[in-house]
Symmetry: C3
């Protein structure tokens, strides 16, 4: 297995099965630190640089919280408008990275352009973690989700997935790549116009993923061991924030996970994941049902980033 | 006395007299750390999460500075627009808190909605500190003010207060609740349209506060031992920032604390408090008079947050 | 030599020759910490307050990264709009500083107004570092540049400078003041309308700087040992960001450093500096030539801020 020390985390396309398990092993080892709520000294000599060109709450703060739990320091920017890099000069990724690499020891980057973290990694002398690149990938989120499955179900192999959402979204691509390394059939459920792009379908086929598509989550939820949901509707951004106040979009039944649907059709031991934030695709009354695992997923989001930071910074080898 | 460990700081309505003194005792104990300007290790294993849905300088930075002085770490957001929580999804307080609680060990929240920190506290497994909730309360500011009085006057009981400002503002409500636990009569001086809301007046009466109202600060300042001032005018926000440049509003005499007024009418040992920022209600030539204590108040703002963080995180018991 | 402990870094006009060398000596001593990428404990008990009223990436993050490398803590604001200080109240520098001084042990301030950090320093009981004040100065950047020259050339004295850019910019003023303390003739090359203001020319003459002006960098680059470049064009800010997308301004030949120009005219051991970000005044194909030193300059930007923070906080004496 390739060492994780000094390695970039850009895509799950190049992750091998034993590498997934190494990450989960380290996550399990570090999890008690998060659970005990006591920051330790493991990364005390290290600094994380956050480079967020798009707003983010969970991804940015989960990385920061993870770094702080391990005793490290954090600097960076949470909004490209706050920097000359993003707004004024349309500075090249190269120029920005040839600066950021001196400000710390690992960079986590979210960018509106697909491939931006990959380009950053070409220039940086320190590891780059992809915190979401446009319509590309979101590897740390899917690693979180797989770890949650492992913790909640005791295994990843042999489980059937249903994924509901906009298949152009980055989490879906990382998910497809990840499941090629496990014995996990998956059904993707997406609205018209939000289908999985051909290039990803071709990759999944070439990599041996067992996948198909369905139009209505109700038709396939009964077989699912893991149900992963993302929004399929968005606020109407052509209106101002005030204009759309209270006017929330409505998710069609095809893509909505109601308590009724779960009670009537889901396996009793299936688990329901959502990286949040949500619109109405999972109503709040689902939160306290037996299926909900998205709060655990949020906790694991910190644990997974602890594992990845410790690994790429060479603290676990 | 109830333990402070694990406790939320949401309102001063539920603070008992001996709890105020416990907080002041801890503040006095920790004050030398701030005065000596040497960060210590008391909260070294802990992380503060700042959740500011409205801009703030003093409240946010005083909490951050306090956490850093005690060796703790800080993460969070300073502006809801920087997060998907605030801007895009209008995410529920519940969903946001079920994420934030994993990112640290105590949350300080400022929100434009009254009661938002209280709702957060219902969902969080860690303490929530109210950093100001809309027209609600601002408990940590008033604890700072009371501690400043105690340090400057040697006592709280037996002092007569005059409070000038917009009585719909949150500091005024926390002040009224706090003084019910001390032997402190208070006169509120507010412009028409900015009177104390009935619900607070009813609470104050039920809780035995000795309070009345006046129209002109000049009529009542002569009896005051403590003069607490807030703005009664605001910039004209219907104009753009450039349009209103240099065009500062003018506070009427009724609510203005000039050097002349102090020299002619105030007790020589009265003290003048203002949480700042100010408009023109206290002109700068008052700053070096014997009455001014607002810089000490700013220093005590850090000390008080050190005490509160140490207490709710269980480091002082 | 005056002690640096407790001292403000506002201007290079008052820097003496032996003080420059003291700063470079400390920078060289601390440089291995940055190079080894291991945060140490030198400033572990100290907090840096960042007060950025204008967006900045490099200056703000280089100070933060430096403080974290030395084990210190950081708080503050990256955007005046995030604070009530900047946007709502147009709070005075005095009022803001009489607050910030309690939040940490050293302040770095960037402000759109010339002289703002100087005014801050008058009120603060802790050191203030000028992170760029309007059309005034940018002392820490030029200290970085001089340190880069010393590291790359082994000396500062005896080298001939050419500086290309907008001479109304703050870096140019700090550069002129700095070179008065060394044996360094300099030629300033600026477009019409961007000439060096008379007040600075008068200062430079009074202080014995050996300087002249030229219209075309091609005429003078052949003699240069150090070429320092800044942008002479800017995006058209009267257009929205979308409107100007892809429509980048073009730097006239007079002020542009192309690979051809360097190959044909520059000394083979000249070095090329740019504080970045850049427009097109240095095309990317120059980056891997023998002249380019701007990445080293970015690294030294952290080292220099480590030295300055350690010095003014009294950790090196």
């Amino acid at each position: 297995m390739r060492s994780f020390a000094g390695r970039d985390i850009l895509s799950l396309k190049d992750f091998e099965r034993n590498e997934f398990f190494r990450v989960f092993e380290v996550a399990a080892e570090l999890e008690p630190i998060a659970r005990n709520r006591r920051n330790v000294d493991l990364l005390r000599e290290k600094t994380l640089v956050t480079a967020f060109y798009q707003p983010s709450t969970r991804t940015r703060l989960a990385h920061e919280a993870a770094m702080l739990r391990l005793g490290g320091a954090v600097t960076g920017f949470a909004d490209a408008k706050m920097t000359r890099a993003g707004d004024f000069y349309q500075e090249s990724i190269k120029d920005t990275v040839k600066m950021l690499e001196f400000y710390g020891d690992v960079i986590v980057m979210r960018h509106f352009q697909i491939g931006a973290p990959h380009e950053a990694a070409q220039w940086a002398s320190i590891p780059v973690i992809n915190g979401g690149d446009g319509w590309g990938e979101h590897p740390t989120q899917i690693l979180t989700d797989l770890y949650t499955v492992l913790r909640e179900k005791g295994t990843i192999d042999g489980l059937r997935w249903v994924a509901v959402g906009d298949m152009r979204m980055r989490t879906m691509h990382s998910l497809g790549y990840a499941l090629t390394q496990f014995d996990c059939p998956i059904t993707f459920v997406a609205p018209p116009g939000m289908e999985m792009p051909d290039s990803y379908k071709e990759d999944f086929m070439a990599m041996g993923l067992d996948f198909d598509f369905a139009d209505h989550v109700g038709d396939v939820i009964g077989d699912a061991d893991v149900i992963l949901v993302e929004p399929t509707v968005q606020p109407d951004y052509s209106k101002s924030r005030d204009e759309r106040k209270g006017e929330l979009p409505t998710t069609p039944d095809n893509y909505k996970i109601t308590k009724d649907l779960l009670v009537n059709k889901a396996k009793s031991d299936a688990i329901l994941l959502h990286s949040l934030p949500r619109m109405d695709e999972i109503p709040p009354d689902v939160d306290i049902t037996r299926w909900s695992r998205y709060w655990q997923e949020a906790f694991n989001g910190v644990v997974m980033r602890m594992a990845l930071l410790a690994l790429v910074l060479g603290a676990m080898e």
